[in-house]
């Protein structure tokens, strides 16, 4: 499965959410086909709640982890 990294460090809400939603919308077919996983890197703590929650409402699975001084948010097909 391909991983696409999106570095959003330095951005804050709501710009991070809108950017993340744009990426998810653009790649929805590939994500649902389980050929792509999006990985957002952010320094904004609020985004670790808003982005996963929105993605889950859209039917995707998510995983959040802390990596160095930033956060890693993975968006992938539910059921993986």
């Amino acid at each position: 499965m391909e991983l696409k990294y999106i570095d959003m460090r330095g951005q804050v809400c709501p710009a991070t959410l809108i950017s993340a939603l744009r990426e998810i919308n653009s790649h929805k077919d590939a994500i649902k086909a389980e050929t792509l996983k999006l990985v957002f890197i952010t320094s904004n703590r609020d985004s670790t709640v808003t982005i996963p929650k929105s993605a889950e409402n859209m039917g995707y699975a998510t995983k959040v982890s802390e990596e160095d001084a930033s956060y890693r948010i993975e968006i992938f097909a539910a059921g993986l």
Partner: protein, 334 residues
């Protein structure tokens, strides 16, 4: 700006006169105001949608006007909402299917089931429950369990629902009696994420026939015990480990033991020493499933008195395993 604006104004003034300048100025103001209103509309609608996504509104100072239009936040969020609605539709279909499955399960089981809310109001019930308690279906969901089943306005004694609400734990009631019928009741709480009980699932199994059968069996058992207790022969029932399950009055009288002493005895304690090896062989043969003809042995009383006896011993099984030996003896020579 003024360096360009003043010569322009002068040229326009010469060409079209003062009135045209005033018209263009007014038109320019109007266009700026319209543009501002549109930007504010986009900002307002964007913020409304951001609120639904649970995030912060756009700050008044950012993004820049051009950026707000170019980034198309409404378009992005609209597309996301379409995905949310599609996902919700899919979830609703799954919930509907699960609901249908649940209804089918409720209808198929031989157990009366109902779901009560935290105020004891009936929310869901199955057909078996209506039959079990002879309850009319009309208006049932307007009633509490007390009103519909117990036909009172307050909790009955030992109410399973009340106990679940008080303890927030499942309750299992082995024998609950209502209108001379016996029920086994299971009451299970459904909790929200704060641990509060929001619903209670009640399941009723009618065990009236089982209770009656057990009572009948106990009566029969007592009758047989009375017969054996007063029999004219010594009766004993011995477990595979040699302990006594039952001995009758004559057995106790002849061997000098009280009822309380029987539980501490083993079969070899009441066999005379010289007869023990033969008796143990008999006991072992019975345990292997062999049949014995008449048995002759010597019992040994509590007072160490020998008591020659003759009788018959049989064995009973449960699930293919020896359950107990049953012996009836009479004294041959005192």
């Amino acid at each position: 700006m003024n360096r360009v604006y003043k010569p322009m104004r002068s040229i326009i003034h010469k060409l079209f006169g003062e009135s045209e300048i005033e018209r263009l100025t007014a038109e320019n103001r109007s266009l700026r105001e319209a543009n501002f209103r549109q930007i504010e509309y986009i900002r307002k609608k964007t913020n409304q949608m951001l609120l639904l996504f649970g995030t912060l509104p756009i700050r008044p100072e950012e993004p820049a006007v051009e950026s707000l239009i170019d980034s198309d936040p409404i378009g992005v969020m609209t597309e996301s909402f379409i995905q949310i609605l599609e996902h919700e539709k899919h979830l609703n279909e799954r919930v509907r299917a699960a609901h249908d499955e649940t209804q089918a399960i409720l209808a198929s089981v031989g157990v009366g089931i109902m779901v009560l809310d935290s105020n004891m109001k009936i929310q869901i019930y199955n057909q078996r429950l209506l039959e079990m308690f002879s309850v009319a279906e009309e208006g049932l969901t307007e009633k509490t369990c007390c009103q519909a089943i117990c036909q009172t306005d307050s909790y009955p004694a030992n109410c399973a629902f009340e106990r679940v609400m008080n303890t927030r734990r499942p309750v299992h009631q082995v024998d609950w009696v209502m209108n001379k019928r016996h029920f086994e009741v299971s009451a299970v709480p459904v909790k929200n994420r704060f641990g509060d009980v929001t619903q209670v699932v009640m399941a009723y199994m009618d065990i009236t026939n089982r209770v009656k059968t057990e009572l009948h069996l106990r009566e029969k058992e007592q009758m047989y015990l009375d017969v054996f207790e007063n029999a004219g022969e010594m009766v004993q029932c011995v477990a595979p480990d040699g302990s006594f399950i039952f001995v009758n009055r004559l057995w106790r009288e002849n061997l000098g033991y009280s009822s309380d002493e029987i539980s501490g005895l083993k079969i070899w304690n009441i066999i005379a020493p010289e007869s023990r090896s033969v008796c143990m062989e008999h006991f072992g043969s019975l345990m292997k499933g062999e049949r014995l003809s008449e048995v002759e042995t010597v019992f040994f009383s509590k007072e160490c008195k020998e008591l020659p006896v003759k009788g018959h011993v049989t064995i009973s099984y449960s699930d293919g395993k020896p359950l107990a030996t049953f012996g009836m003896f009479h004294v041959t020579n005192t």
